[in-house]
């Protein structure tokens, strides 16, 4: 406890960010340290699991130390340790889990394993102090595209998910195909601002009527086919137009389904999370469409959209309040479901 507040340390190593953060009373951000490996992985064109695991090991202790110091706390102030135990890359996850367990054991601090996706949703509790469940959640990240009905803290009903590629994954793949490189999402977003979103007719895949599932894998093939055709015809390719048209196809489907879900479940709020929630066109279109139905759209600031320890701390706090505890036998679960 510090100044009468419950102090949680959140640890996150599910992919290529080693992150730790101190959060007071589950809502108030006291520190947020993120050591990104993006520069290292860029030369390989994507995250290399073995390298990510090696870097996490080298970084994690320093990151934890800095998170505690930046918050002007000491280890003795910490009431709870929350750690991501899945989903993610197994070798990456286990660094965070091993460090969290060793710390919990060495310092006699309670431990809670956190579902990374619940963490993404919880990022909103840090940003919006008044936000409480229930609400409609839209998680769009590098590995996930989910519409979830958040009934209570850390209780989510999955209404739909991707059947193949996640939204962020589609951005990354198409970015590679059109030569924008890695990480693709922000680069496509930027290029799209200079492009014509009606230039190419990318297919909108809605699947069965009423389904909240997604399918984005066809977009990469379509982009490849388009590039080939243009090349064979000797036409110059406008990368900005491809980016804008592709992005519009992804964003439209996501927005339509999220609005439909909010209406069906009679929810007046859509809460976004995950790296793709930073996409400027997605924000623009979802706000526009939501306003027509008097639905409010919430999302975290970009720094809390991508992976961070703060969202894990917040989710851990609410799990702990709900009586959840993890034992020292906590294991990494790479394929953990929502």
């Amino acid at each position: 406890m510090k100044n009468g507040k419950f102090i949680t340390l959140g640890i996150e190593t599910s992919c290529d960010e080693s992150a730790a953060s101190i959060v007071a009373d589950g809502r108030e951000l006291l520190s947020n340290v993120i050591s990104s490996q993006i520069d290292i992985h860029t030369q390989f064109g994507g995250v290399v699991p073995e390298i990510a695991s090696r870097k996490h090991l080298e970084n994690i202790n320093m990151v934890i130390d800095k998170a505690i110091k930046d918050a002007n706390c000491t280890v003795d102030d910490i009431d709870l340790i929350g750690v991501t135990y899945g989903p993610g890359l197994v070798g990456a996850l286990l660094i965070g889990v091993a460090a969290a367990k060793a710390m919990a054991y060495a310092c006699d601090i309670p431990l809670v394993g956190v579902n990374h996706m619940h963490g993404h949703v919880a990022a909103n509790y840090l940003e919006h102090p008044e936000l409480e469940p229930p609400f409609m959640g839209l998680v769009v990240s590098g590995g996930h595209t989910n519409i979830i009905f958040v009934e209570e803290y850390n209780t989510c009903r999955k209404l739909g998910g991707t059947r193949d590629d996640a939204a962020g994954e589609a951005f990354d793949k198409v970015a590679r195909v059109i030569g924008l490189g890695y990480p693709g999402g922000p680069k496509v977003d930027k290029a799209a601002r200079e492009g014509d979103k009606a230039a190419i007719d990318f297919k909108r895949v809605y699947l069965e009527k009423g389904s909240y599932d997604f399918s984005f894998s066809g977009l990469k093939t379509q982009a490849l086919n388009y590039l080939n055709t243009e090349k064979q015809a000797g036409r110059e390719i406008n990368v900005n137009d491809v980016a804008a048209s592709f992005q519009e196809a992804v964003v439209e489907v996501i927005v339509d389904k999220a609005i439909a879900a909010a209406l069906e479940y009679d929810q007046k709020r859509i809460v976004m999370a995950g790296g793709v929630a930073s996409n400027s066109r997605l924000r623009e279109l979802i706000c526009e469409r939501a306003a027509e139905h008097n639905i409010e759209v919430l999302r975290p600031s970009p720094i809390l959209c991508t992976d961070n320890g703060a969202m894990i701390a917040s989710a851990a706090y609410y799990a702990y309040k709900n009586g959840e505890r993890s034992g020292f036998d906590l294991d990494a679960v790479p394929g953990l479901e929502f």
């Binding site: 695991s53 090991l57 202790n61 091993a98 054991y105 036998d329």
Partner: protein, 247 residues
Amino acid sequence: MKILALETTGKYGSAAVIDDGRVYCAESSGEMNHLKEIIKITGEALEAAGITKKELTHIAASVGPGSFTGIRIGVTVARTMAQMLDLPCVAVSSLESMAENVKTAAMESGCETVAAVINARRHQTYAGAWSIKDGKLINLLDDRQYMIEEFLEQLAGNRVYFVGDGIDAYEEIIQAETGLEAYVMAEGKLRYQTAEAVAKLAAEAASEGNVVGYEELMPDYMRLSEAEQRLKEGTLSDKIKKLNRRG
């Protein structure tokens, strides 16, 4: 000196506490259960030694070579415990500790050389060899990556006691090697890594002042990741899709 030693580089995980030369060891129940059981066996080793974690003076870990994942579990737990308990660390080689563990058995079976061999697949190994002189191990072949055939060739003329999971993989190749004067293979639990030997070597190292801060306790993988290897060789592009997660 009261040292906690962790060994998770092979298929059986273990933790040991060495207190004034006496070693108390706890083993993981199954194979490859390192992450799940490491804290439990750490607690068991401390309990067997009758001390609390606050009484520890050093944290030691077997830093490899061995399973990359296994190495990371032990080293991460050791680093974090040392960080939180404010203790120095000791790095121990998995190969050397295996050799140390079978030293007596080797002498008893008439071998003057110990070879520790870890399987790195496709005829590759992480290995090292020592001569036993006056009950001490003297380095004979450096710890590094060897092809099993190359390693055996360099041991020609020796009476060799083999230890390590390299035996499981290359038993037939070792048996077929005609250059060796004689050979014996470690059997049962003696064949694999154990924290007991790590603790003993750590106590020696610590008494000689060979300790590091927790930030400097580093894995010894003995090998670059495949992606880095390919980047170095210039063969990355054809493999890139298989290596990264979202190809």
